[in-house]
């Protein structure tokens, strides 16, 4: 066996590539957010570190690393330190199941296959694994709030937990229509199903599911207009009030990583992933760079949703807590249930 035929080596390469991408992506997403916020408010945003502030994420990272690490007196030390780690670990783990590229032809054989996709693991229950990991991320917020021994932190954590429980229900129900139409839990096959039948967004149950999905995502990622867990006008910054320096940076980075992940997930579930538009399909078919064009479209579509998060954040005010619960239980949940019913009818008629 050749030395490069080891499965561990190839997984390691994929993991390293994805880890580099997610760290850089999150860094530059913060820059995009700050720039976007600047233009929404008729100012420039960061523009000192390099041209267009291109080195700003690097400078921020160095700043967070060099700040003094402080530990408040009455905290529960182990859980206090564990909480940001859980947040960032779940955020990184989420990337393991997302297929970023279709199968790409290789000039040589690897592990008996001549094709490879940039996806660390592809379990049969891909989308469920993704939801299982993301359901763990609530522990980061919860433990941070509880272990801080601070009223505001605890209030933020309690709010966040209640919010996540309410919205995770709608979120997981909203994708059932897609799973029914695709017939698989596997993310790769969900994209392939859209390659054949068109985007799920364009079908009736898919459209309804998308609407519920995107609203629930804002709640799940703790973004405005649903960021009650860190409502700065009421709770200082909520669950991470007591955190500083790099521990805060971990929460911060995890939030942006999660937003990138869910942007890609939205595209995978409802907008056909790396599907190539019909007018380009004949042109690229059979070319070795064909899949890469698809990846380019994939990233562009995901970038639109990343922009949507910024757009909404700087356009809408925060909801009140009772309004948040009303939307979750009285509107989104029934809509998600109707969507499942409609998916059944859709499949029956097809």
């Amino acid at each position: 066996m050749e030395w490069y035929q080891s499965e561990i080596l190839w997984s390691l390469i994929k993991i390293l590539v994805l880890f580099f991408l997610i760290i850089t992506g999150a860094g530059y997403y913060t820059l995009m957010e700050r720039k976007g916020a600047g233009y929404f408010q008729l100012r420039y945003g960061p523009n000192r570190a390099g041209i267009w502030g291109i080195f700003q994420p690097l400078a921020d990272g160095i700043k967070f690393l060099l700040k003094q690490e402080t530990l408040p007196k009455h905290v529960d030390v182990y859980l206090f330190l564990l909480a940001p780690a859980i947040s960032v670990i779940t955020a990184v783990l989420l990337w393991s199941t997302i297929p970023f590229t279709p199968l790409i032809d290789l000039p040589f054989e690897v592990l008996g296959k001549s094709q490879v996709a940039l996806q660390v693991l592809n379990p049969g229950s891909g989308i469920l694994l993704l939801f299982a990991i993301s359901s763990l991320s609530v522990y980061g917020v919860m433990l941070a709030g509880w272990s801080s021994n601070n009223k505001y932190s605890l209030l933020g954590a309690v709010r966040s937990t209640a919010q996540m429980i309410s919205y995770e229900l709608s979120l997981s129900l909203s994708i059932i229509g897609v799973i029914m139409m695709a017939g698989h839990f596997d993310l790769y096959r969900i994209i392939e199903a859209q390659n054949e039948n068109g985007w799920f967004f364009l079908s009736v149950p898919g459209f309804l599911g998308f609407f519920v999905f995107i609203v629930a995502l804002f709640a799940e990622t703790n973004r405005l207009p649903f960021d009650l867990a860190e409502a700065e006008s009421e709770l200082v910054v909520g669950f991470h009030t007591e955190y500083g320096a790099f521990k805060f940076a971990l929460f911060f980075v995890a939030e942006y990583m999660n937003m990138i992940t869910v942007s890609f997930l939205t595209v995978i579930l409802f907008f056909g992933g790396w599907n190539i538009p019909f007018f380009l399909r004949d042109m690229v078919s059979g070319m070795w760079w064909g899949p890469l064009v698809g990846v380019l479209f994939f990233v562009f579509k995901a970038m639109f949703f990343m922009f949507l998060f910024i757009w909404v954040r700087w356009s809408l005010p925060r909801f009140r807590y009772d309004q948040l619960m009303n939307i979750g239980w009285k509107y989104l949940l029934p809509m998600a249930l109707i969507q499942i019913f409609m998916a059944g009818i859709y499949l029956y008629l097809k």
């Binding site: 049969g124 763990l136 919860m142």
Partner: protein, 185 residues
Amino acid sequence: MENIREILFFLFAFVMMGASFGVILHKNPVKSALFLVVFFVSLASLYGVLGAEFLAVLQVLVYVGAIMVLFLFVIMLIAVRDENFENIGANKGKTMVVFLLVLAFTMQFAALASVLSSDDKINTKTEYSKTIDSAQNLTIEGNAEVLSFHLFEKYILPFELISIVLLIGVIGAVVIAKKNRRRLE
């Protein structure tokens, strides 16, 4: 490969043992609940080692992601203090009862284990595919498919009965909560 499987089994089993002791011995209820989370996650990993990835994912999704979050939420809200719990061993009689129960359980478990080990070894390989209809050569593949075939074809009656039991539980909870509210008013 089999070797790695065995090492992983003992690793997760060890973590599970430690975590379950943590659940019953730790004085802080929040940390007890967290030990239970660790227990569930390592149990899911154990399922994963056995090849039942679908079950593993559901274990994490349902128990860790939903049930334990609710548990912790309630514990945090009512804010139980450490002093509410007496020291372990303070009450001799209770300690004795717990000790005897644990001993009885361990003996029973050992008996069960010896019975099982005398037979064939526990099947560590999962059926990834199953022939539904050999005449039409219909097969299903994958964890979720095999599981749902068993649930919705073979064991449909118990499955529906369980869902009715759960429904009864939900209605019961609502009734109990309503009663308390009326008394308060």
